[in-house]
Amino acid sequence: MARLVLDNIHKSFHGESVVKGLNLTIEPGEFVALLGPSGCGKSTILRMLAGFEPVSDGKILHGDICLSSSKQHVSTEDRNFGMVFQSYALWPHMSVKDNVGYPLKVQKIKSDERDRRIQEALEIVQLEEYAGRLPAQLSGGQRQRVALARSLVTEPDVVLFDEPLANLDRHLRAKMEETFRAFHKRTGATIVYVTHDQSEAMSLADRIAVLKKGELVQWGTPQALYATPKNTWLANFIGRGSVLKVSEIAPQQYVNSTDLHDLIERYSSEQVFSSVLVRPQDINFVPIGDLSIVVTVNNCIFRGERYDVELTLEDGQKLLTYNDMPMTVNSQHHIRLEQAWSLESES
């Protein structure tokens, strides 16, 4: 086990920068998630870590060994990394069983031990009955699970997951999340996990790196990211919530209910403004009273356990909240904002 250091990594394709000056230090055995909008460079980072793409500049260190730099390149098969590809990359000519067992075969594991471990891995992903099938005879989700099983049979130092659960339903995802936790605990491997599902990232990762257009925006624990996002973009990106323009206030601090209502009231008449983040659960419908503002229901969407309600303030700003009951569009209500977090304006 060794620390994984990405030191000022740059990557460009045909002159176009895709990853720009990325610095990350991943402790041994840490579970790290990469989050970011589609096309921000997450897969590219994994591919550089795995050694499929050379870095354009900077270096990747694993402990004392330099894995990649503009001069050096340790080839993938010498890295002892595991990976689940976004495109699965199953070998079409091998059965499910052979696909999963191939890494073991390469490691010359004996065949009964191998069978046992394949069996185990297939059980985890609930594909025991499909052992003899070819990948072409599987459904999308089943293929993804084969790819997962393949990455779980060996015990690599570092495992890279590229959206490993994108095609699975929620129950299977929950099950798989459990599996990842168990795998992580058992092997102590360092895990780098790319996902577009924040709740997945939040629940699995020790730390999360949020990327935007190839640059690191924030790097911290899930709680820190959720509660104290750095700027407007991040606040919008992580979790659900609304960014409100209010009267000026110092960035990066909590604002309590009284102050918040005050800031909102003062805003309308001012030019200079700050942005604050209001989470939906911090908004309550209240009877008319001192600390309350008038809102109109703009939209109401059913989400299973509850409804997403989109509200409009009198000055036209939008707010998102939840409600257990459907609400009539265009009806007027009063709400109180319990707290908010003030943001840096985006650079």
Partner: protein
């Protein structure tokens, strides 16, 4: 770089140098050997001669047109037999492989007879042309037509390996866009197969360029020279600088190949797509009411390129002497009897040729796997250069390649003092050198379309290059390998021009045997042997079908 890879590269580059570059270089040296400052050096004479340039132009025309015909035929057959629900797929494919086995001279002659003044069919119908009326086959276009037919299977096999790897969902997406089958074909299938078509076309072009038999048969009467016939003319002269002139002419062919390769590279550069994944189902267009007409069309084409020549061949092997009509009275199996009972040479020739063909095909298949793999990893330009170097020995006429091998191997090998000259070994080496590109072409085009993630996943599993080659790349490109090996086998089993100079007593090949018989006037015996060769090949091919269930899918072209 990985040490396995490094050793692999070094080994293979030595091999390429030995097989392709050294013979070509030796010819170049020969071409330049008598260059003096005076204007009368052989090379200068070759370059100055107007006929050189006429032949060059003619070669270009016939090979180009021949390639076009080969592409049309090969692709047509390829698309119809792989993509549609035509009946009896396996039989069509099987039959389409066989015309390669019939000497083109036989094909030409059978057509001349079929449509000539002596045609038995036309004569009974009263449609036969007057004695001596002009024959359209004796023309550049006639040459091109035969060249095209001869090399169509090259295109067909190269294309087929690509077609069976086409992901089905790409076609489905086009159907959803409401594209008619024709548009799907034009807009999706053809572009996706372009790399294979170009590879097949390149093979066809190069093989047409070096072909001597067809232009000799059809071009000489029409006074139409191409480079290989011009080369033969030089040899037939009595001059002492014949070798340098011949080598000089061959270098012109080599230049033509290089130019062709640049074109090919340019075409393929823009058609390298890795196809994600593979499909299990084979694509099948429902032909509905077009099926019968299409089947009839295929059948009539096969009649022309296979049945008629084969029939002519069989007829001429069953009469006592050339030109006699086949009737119940004249029917005789004496030619077969004589060839089979004269054990010695016939048996030897069969053994030698089958052995050479098998071993060359096998060795080349084994070599093209790592070679193709390494080439794919080279920068585009380097790859283009190496690929064209490999191509040169196939393009220059076999007889010239044989000269190069004599020049290289007539003396015992240095240090070990073993002489390869006069053994089967030298023919074997020459075959390797000559057919390397035939085997490699389909493999390269298949590899270029492989999804790189599949290999990356194996790298993650810790598999080193050799292991990846065997476990991942080989099975995924197996149809291409087999296509390459099959082509080498089919071409070398009755190969003539290379072995013509290199054979020696005891080392006869089938091609040499047939040719020598034919040349010394025993064309009936020659036909008998040719019939036996076709039967042998057809037999071996059917035998292969027995193994099909154990081989990866799509490996045996005539087995679904």
């Amino acid at each position: 770089m990985d040490s396995q890879l490094r050793w692999l590269s070094i080994g293979l580059f030595v091999l390429i140098a030995a097989l392709s570059v050294v013979p070509s270089l030796r010819l170049l040296v020969e071409a330049l050997s008598q260059v003096t400052l005076s204007a009368s050096s052989p090379l200068a004479e070759v370059l100055r001669s107007e006929r050189t340039w006429i032949a060059l132009g003619n070669s270009f025309y016939t090979s180009g047109l021949g390639t076009l015909i080969a592409v049309l035929l090969g692709c047509g057959f390829g698309f119809v037999t792989t993509l549609t629900n035509i009946r009896g797929r396996a039989i069509w494919v099987f039959c389409f492989m066989l015309p390669m086995m019939i000497p083109p001279q036989v094909t030409a002659l059978s057509w001349l007879q079929l449509f000539g003044p002596a045609s038995p069919i036309l004569n009974t119908l009263g449609l036969a042309p007057a004695l001596g009326s002009p024959q359209p086959m004796y023309s550049a276009e006639g040459i091109a037509l035969l060249l095209g037919i001869q090399s169509a299977p090259l295109v067909y096999l190269a294309l087929r390996t690509q077609l069976i790897a086409l992901p089905q969902d790409l076609l489905e997406a086009a159907q959803l866009a409401k594209a008619s089958p024709f548009r799907v074909w034009i807009d999706i299938i053809v572009p996706l197969c372009r790399s294979a078509i170009v590879a097949g076309a390149a093979l066809a072009f190069v093989s047409s360029l070096g072909n001597f038999g067809i232009p000799a048969m059809l071009g000489i009467p029409a006074g139409y020279i191409v480079l290989p016939t011009l080369i033969y003319q030089q040899m037939a002269g009595f001059g002492n600088d014949m070798l340098s002139q011949v080598a000089g002419l061959s270098m012109i062919i080599a230049l033509l190949v290089l130019a062709g390769m640049l074109l090919q590279q340019w075409l393929q550069q823009r058609s390298r797509y890795s196809l994600l994944g593979h499909t299990a189902q084979s694509i099948s267009f429902r032909l509905q009411r077009w099926r019968l007409p299409l089947e009839l069309l295929l059948a009539s084409i096969l009649c022309f390129i296979l049945v008629a020549p084969l029939f002519a061949l069989i007829v001429s092997s069953l009469v006592p002497a050339l030109g006699m009509p086949l009737t119940l009275d004249t029917l005789t199996f004496s030619a077969f009897y004589e060839m089979i009972s004269r054990q010695g040479v016939t048996k030897r020739a069969f053994e030698n040729s089958v052995f050479l063909a098998f071993v060359s095909a096998f060795v080349l298949m084994v070599v093209s796997l790592p070679l193709g793999y390494l080439l794919m990893r080279l920068p585009m330009r380097t790859r283009a250069v190496i690929a064209s170097l490999i191509e040169v020995p196939y393009a220059i006429p076999g007889i010239v390649l044989a000269i190069a091998f004599i020049l290289l191997f007539a003396k015992p090998l240095p240090f070990i003092e073993v002489s390869l000259y006069g053994t089967l070994g030298i023919i074997f080496l020459a075959y390797l050198s000559c057919f390397l590109s035939v085997c490699l072409k389909p493999v390269l085009s298949a590899m270029s379309q492989l999804d790189p993630a599949l290999e990356e996943a194996a790298q993650l599993a810790g598999a080193r290059p050799l292991k990846r080659l065997v476990d991942i790349i080989l099975p995924l490109t197996a149809p291409a390998f087999f296509a390459g090996g099959l082509l080498v086998f089919l071409i070398s089993i009755n190969e003539l021009t290379v072995s013509a100079l290199l054979w020696s007593a005891g080392n006869e090949t089938l091609g040499v045997l047939i040719f020598n018989l034919d040349e010394s006037g025993d064309s009936v015996l020659a036909s008998a042997i040719a019939v036996l060769v076709v039967m042998l090949v057809a037999g071996l091919m059917s035998l292969l079908s027995l193994f099909a269930p154990r081989l990866p899918k799509g490996v045996i072209p005539w087995h679904d």
